[in-house]
Structure formats: C-alpha cells, structure tokens
C-alpha cells in the first residue's frame, strides 16, 4: 500500500472551451490534511470535484487510494467505468458542500442513514445507532427528528459532515464548507473539522479560512489561473510567500 491517498498528475479540465485546470499535480498522503486556497475561479472547486468524479477531467491521471477514478486501465487504454462502478468508488469518498445540500425532505436522522441503508445495505437499526453516534460527535444530539430547514446553517453543515462520515470514507473532501455561513457559526463547523483531522482522517479542504489552514493543514496548495502556483508547509507558505501572486492574494484575504 502506497503512502499517497490521492495522486493527481497533470490534470486538465475545460468547460466550453475555457481551460479551468491547466495541468495540476498534487499528492495527499494518508492521514494528512491538505488545504487548497486561491482566488475564485482559480479551479480549486473543480479540482476537488474531479477527485470524486463529479466532473470528468479531460487529461491527466487521478488516483485515489491507488485506483483510477472513473476509469479502468486495460491494454494501455483508459476505459470509462459505468454508473454503478463509479458510484461504488464514490461511496468511499465523502464530500461536504458549500451549500450543505442536505436532503430537504428527510429528517436529520434519515439524512445520515439513507446512504448507509441504500448504498452500503447496512441494517436499518445499525445505521440508526451509527447516525446517533455521529450526531453526538458533531454536537447535535436530540436533533434527529428535525428537518434541515429547521436548523441553522452551522448545524446543517455539521449534519452534512455526519452524513458523509456515515459512509466510513477513506477520504473527505470539503468544498468551501464555511463560506455560506454567518461569521458567528463558522467556528462550530471548523471545530468539528479540526476534531476530524486529529482523528487521522485524510482531508482535502478548499477554504478561505487562512487561520484554519495555518493551524490544521499539513500542506497548503495555492491555485491561481488553473495551475498550482505555490505549495508546502502552511507556516512557510502563508507567512513568507515567495510568489507575487500569493502575496497579493494573502494581502486581500487576511
């Protein structure tokens, strides 16, 4: 088993003729927290979405846990996998969205059990027990019967994290998890994420929270214009940036 959980080599991606990713390389080791920072439109979210094949990349190689994502290599060619096979691979990669995307018609408990029972065929009672444990872990005991619309943004995002964790993923992707939150609610979500990082989860986080990146990340990647401009230890990268563009970016967000 290799040390790397995610390996990205020369990944390209275009939307309608506009190249969003222009050859990105990135490695995330097991148990590490990686933060992707950069101005909007730099391709951070696209890169994240390519990792669990929500977007198809056009060129390059993308491996999660040693496996190609969305493709199968045979006789020197890449064959796109069918829906079912891709879904199986995705079920091992958790994702948390900027806008939470909780299932509005399901209660908090149902949101956390639906993936377990329907995708992993876990017994309903086992799924419920697990859901309650996770709710306790994200500090939302007693909210089982609420609907997402009855919760605050911070609470919804914590449910979304619990929903992703219920699938027992080997990798968690966070797409600007605190950007849609009121400032006073950001902390409660970041605390859950810090706790998750301490537990040894491999995480890739697209974020504008520089404090979080500095404190929690093992590696920070700065994307700009579809390429990785600078990367490394957050204390070095964020405190003494070498490129002009990162200096410029940091002066705006800090």
């Amino acid at each position: 088993m290799s040390e790397a959980m995610v390996e990205v080599r020369g990944v390209h991606k275009s939307y309608a003729g506009v190249e969003v990713l222009k050859g990105v390389d990135l490695t995330v080791n097991r148990g590490e927290v990686t933060c992707l920072i950069g101005p909007s439109g730099s391709g951070k979210s696209t890169l994240l979405r390519c990792i669990n094949h929500l977007e198809k990349h056009d060129a390059g190689e993308l491996r999660v846990d040693g496996d190609l994502v969305g493709y199968e290599a045979r006789n020197g060619k890449l064959y796109e996998l069918n829906d079912k096979a891709i879904c199986e691979k995705r079920s091992h990669i958790g994702m948390v969205f900027q806008r939470f995307n909780l299932f509005q018609h399901l209660t908090v408990l149902e949101n956390i059990t639906v993936g377990q029972t329907q995708v992993k065929n876990v017994d309903r009672d086992v799924a419920r027990t697990k859901a309650r444990e996770l709710l306790k872990r994200v500090g939302l005991e007693g909210k089982e019967k609420h609907y997402p619309s009855q919760l605050s943004g911070g609470q919804q995002q914590r449910v979304a994290i619990a929903r992703a964790l219920a699938m027992e993923p080997k990798l968690m992707l966070f797409d600007e998890p605190t950007s849609a939150l009121d400032p006073e609610l950001v902390g409660e979500v970041l605390d859950v994420m810090k706790d998750l990082a301490r537990s040894g989860m491999t995480m890739i986080v697209v974020t504008h929270e520089m404090g979080f990146a500095r404190e929690v990340a093992d590696t920070v990647y700065f994307l700009d214009g579809g390429v990785i401009e600078e990367s490394g230890d957050p204390r070095e990268v964020l405190l003494s940036p070498s490129s002009e563009r990162l200096k410029n970016f940091l002066s705006k967000v800090l």
């Binding site: 879904c87 995307n101 299932f103 509005q104 018609h105 993936g115 619309s149 992703a164 699938m167």
Partner: protein, 335 residues
C-alpha cells in the same frame, strides 16, 4: 391631554363607502340567485279539485329547477352506475397518465438522445390531437387492426393471436385513450417538478454513491412531488369531467347515463343538475384529498406546516371560547 402633556389625537379611520355599495349589490344578486334556485314560481299548469260539485282550479307553483325531479333521480341506479363508471375511468386513466407521464419526463431528461426524442415525439403527438378524436380512434381501432398478433415482426411466426373487437371493450378503449392522452400532459408537469429540484441535491446523492436510479427514487422524485401535486390535482379534476366524452363512444358514465334518461323523459335541466351536483361532490372530495397530499409532501420544505382546516376550526373555537370566558370574567368582576 394625557398625563405628560401630549395632546391625544383621535384617529378617524377611512370610510370605505365603495365596500358598502359593493356589499349591497352582492346581497341583491345573492337574494336573486337564492330566489331563482329555491323559490317556487307560478307555472302554466293548473290543479283542479271538485268540491260540492264545483270545479275549482288554481295555478300550480313549481321550482324552476324542478328540485323534486332532481331528488327523484339523484339516487337512481342508472345515475349511480354512471357515477361509478365515471370514478373508475378517472382513477384508471389517471394512474396510467401519472405513471406514463413520470416515465416520459425521466426519458425526456435522459442524456440518451434516442430516449429524449422519443419522449418529445410522444408529447408532441398526444398533445397535438383532440382527446375526443383519440377516444373515437381507440374505440374503432378494430377497423384498422382487426387482429392483434404477438410474434416475430415481418414473419408469419405468431405466439398470440387476438380479435381486437372482441378483446377491447369500449370501456377499455376509453381508459386507454384518456390515459395515453393524459400521459402527455402529465409528462410536462412531472418534468417541471424534476427540474425544480436543486442540482446540489443530486450532487449530494452522487457523492454518497447513489446510482442515477437511486438518486431519482430517493432524492429527486420525493422533492419534485411538492411541485407536481397541485397541477396533478387539477388534472384529476379535469379528467373527472373529461370522462364525459366517453358517452360519445357508447360508455354510459355519469353524463351518458343522465343523457339516456332525459332522452326518454325530456327532463333535461333537472337531470343535468343531478349530474352537476355529483360532479361537484366528487370534485370536493378530490380537493380535500389534494390538500392532505400536499401537506404530506411539504415535509421539510416549511418550518411549520400550515394547520389543517379541522385544526384551524379547533383553534378558532378555542379562541372564541377563551374570549367568552374573559368577557364573563370581566363582567363578574365589575358586578
């Protein structure tokens, strides 16, 4: 002047003269309506009696709408049987229509171009021709295809061979015709529901590893229902009345049944009233059903669901009760 020296200015509310005039006009119209509906008017008929050898005649007063005749026919077996056929046709046609509509909507949104153009063509054809024409077409399909054969196309190998005129009764022809036509309309309603569901919901389902089919069944359709139900309720009520076209191909549903009756006794108006009242009753029942169905599928969409009419009535009564109690309480204190 009040205690702290402010001048207390009295507020005079706006006088809504127009409202009072409107109320008066509506009252007169309502009185006229009640009068024409329920008061007896003198008719050309005369009733004569012989008393002590003297023949006394006087005009008979009758209801314009002949309520006595309405009452006489309201529960007759022809009418009730027609009502049953109407309800059956509505239910079966709508079930076909909804299932077909859902399927066509999903096909229409499929990335597969063959499926989506097939779905588009279906809607184009069945929406583009009158439903009455379609009903007559299905009723006389035997003229076009006297035999129905299931076998291998373009060969003489047949597994099943059916005489269409024997196999397809007019009743079946009607629900097939209405159902296929309804499918075209329902597909557009279902499609509007499906596209109303936020893209993020589908992404979240995918990220949990749900297949396209699971996403549709567990996430998209339950949320689309909130948008789909109100116009579907409309379609059901519309279908209830469209079934009256079945009388054109000899199926005696409610309208056909009363038509049959008034063809022999010429009591056209009262029998139309009989049919109308039954249509209104069924529509009312359906509307109540729609209300509760909407409430069921609104789960999670609203922080507090609106109260049911019964809950509202209870709350109102409680309100009146408490007001009554306080008034009495005040009266007791002042006494």
């Amino acid at each position: 002047m009040s205690a702290n020296g402010d001048v207390a200015v009295k507020v005079v509310p706006v006088r809504h003269v127009g409202r009072w005039i409107g109320l008066a006009a509506v009252s007169v119209l309502l009185a006229m309506l009640i009068h024409t509906l329920f008061f007896q008017v003198s008719s050309a008929k005369q009733a004569c009696t012989l008393t002590n050898g003297v023949r006394v005649c006087h005009g008979v007063k009758v209801w314009r709408f002949q309520w006595d005749v309405v009452g006489q026919y309201f529960f007759t077996s022809e009418v009730l049987h027609g009502l049953l056929i109407t309800v059956e046709l509505t239910v079966i046609s709508m079930i076909i229509g909804i299932l077909l509509g859902m399927t066509i909507a999903v096909m229409r949104m499929s990335p597969n171009r063959v499926l989506s153009s097939l779905a588009w063509s279906y809607t184009w054809f069945f929406r583009g021709t009158p439903v009455l024409v379609q009903l007559v077409f299905w009723a006389f399909i035997g003229l076009l295809y006297p035999h129905l054969t299931i076998g291998i196309p373009f060969t003489h190998l047949a597994f099943v061979h059916i005489h269409v005129n024997v196999a397809l009764t007019p009743f079946e022809a009607v629900f097939i015709g209405l159902g296929l036509n309804e499918g075209a309309y329902m597909s557009e309603i279902a499609r509007s529901g499906l596209i109303s569901v936020d893209e993020g919901q589908i992404e979240a389902a995918s990220s949990l590893g749900m297949t396209r089919r699971q996403t549709l069944r567990l996430v998209v359709i339950p949320q689309a229902m909130r948008v789909i139900i109100p116009p579907t309720g409309n379609e059901v009520i519309s279908m209830l009345k469209t079934t009256s076209l079945a009388s054109a191909v000899g199926v005696l549903e409610l309208f056909g049944a009363v038509e049959n009756v008034y063809a022999t006794n010429y009591k056209i108006m009262p029998l139309l009233v009989v049919a109308s009242i039954w249509y209104l009753i069924v529509t009312t029942v359906l509307s109540i059903g729609q209300f509760y169905l909407e409430r069921r599928f609104a789960r999670g969409a609203l922080r507090t669901p609106p109260p049911t009419p019964i809950q509202r009535l209870r709350a109102d009564l409680r309100g009146i009760g408490s007001k009554f109690r306080t008034k009495r309480g005040v009266a007791e204190v002042s006494a």
